[in-house]
């Protein structure tokens, strides 16, 4: 009996604390697989965010730093400028990357820092128990928008891929989901391409993953997948927004 597929080497054996059906675990696996496939495990430095993925340092079997909330891109910049030949990634939630960390995100992107950012957009603050995220969609109810997000009061859901891909420093930007096996395969391809972008020293690469948070959406896991596909993608169209190598098509449809 031969095991063909199992936990990638770049993940540890630690049991993950994510809720049943949460997208974080899937994305962890995809990234770890990509690191394995490129043979990067021993030269990887990962930056964990503050958010549900804060414990990523226990799950990735690579050198890890736990950054202050929102500052992962700055921390990663510090690392990368010391170790330009290492593979450096950040793994961040939407609150982390698109609210408190806006300045660090925009400027790392603008500098074209040769980093790979895995961005988990679950339209909510997971770890703190379900408050509005910058990516919460209009009329979505959260604990801090109990009557639904309204543009006039709370602003619009921020579209990170669209925003960042306007910047020259950004080499690769793609939005994917992990809502079905087929989408997971696409997500994996995007993550691989982002890793490659860094290895080729092309600049900043980001993969935005629309990811389910069954717990704070108050849904069963399968309903959450459906909500990603039917609701979230309306605001956040899937697709590649930038690929400096040229094979990127305009995202959105």
């Amino acid at each position: 009996m031969k095991t063909l597929l199992k936990k990638p080497e770049s993940l540890t054996d630690a049991p993950m604390h994510y809720c049943p059906g949460c997208g974080h675990g899937i994305v962890h696996r995809l990234l770890a697989e990509a690191i394995d496939e490129f043979g990067l495990r021993e030269k990887t430095v990962g930056i964990a965010p503050v958010g549900c993925a804060v414990f990523a340092y226990n799950y990735f079997n690579v050198d890890m730093i736990e950054a202050p909330h929102g500052r992962a891109p700055a921390v990663a910049t510090g690392v990368k400028r010391v170790l330009p030949e290492n593979f450096v990634f950040t793994y961040q939630g939407d609150g982390d990357l698109a609210a408190i960390g806006t300045a660090e995100t925009v400027h790392a992107a603008n500098r074209g820092e040769n980093l790979t950012v895995i961005f988990i957009n679950n339209a909510i603050y997971g770890m703190t128990g379900g408050q509005m995220a910058p990516t919460t969609v209009l009329s979505q109810k959260t604990n801090t928008t109990p009557y639904g997000r309204q543009a006039a009061l709370h602003g619009y859901p921020i579209k990170i891929c669209e925003l960042l891909s306007t910047m020259e420093g950004v080499a690769f930007a793609e939005r994917v989901t992990v809502s079905s096996p087929a989408n997971i395969i696409k997500a994996k391809a995007a993550i691989r391409r982002a890793v490659e972008t860094q290895l080729n020293k092309e600049g900043f690469s980001i993969v935005e993953v629309l990811s389910q948070c069954p717990t704070n959406w108050g849904m069963k896991p399968l309903d959450a997948l459906k909500w990603v596909e039917e609701e979230m993608t309306k605001t956040f169209p899937l697709g590649n927004f930038k690929d400096k190598k040229g094979n990127g098509k305009k995202g959105g449809q």
Partner: protein
């Protein structure tokens, strides 16, 4: 892939049901007879029916599924 099969690492399973939903062969179900130490009924593959398509591996957030060759 007939000789390739999926198996669930029961202690890792959180019973989210994703594998069950996406299995095209409808060969995964909760093992109602058992609670794992997380307090849930873990998923169980009906090996005979499994066609080794890996969909369950792809979707499992806990990496609680392995694919093996008999």
């Amino acid at each position: 892939m007939a000789n390739q099969k999926a198996k669930v690492l029961e202690e890792k399973c959180k019973a989210c049901g994703l594998c069950i939903h996406f299995c095209p062969a409808k060969c995964i179900a909760y093992n109602e007879k058992k609670f794992n130490s997380k307090g849930v009924h873990p998923a169980l593959v009906e090996k005979e029916k499994c066609i080794g398509c890996r969909q369950c591996y792809l979707v499992c957030p806990e990496i609680a599924i392995e694919i093996f060759e008999e």
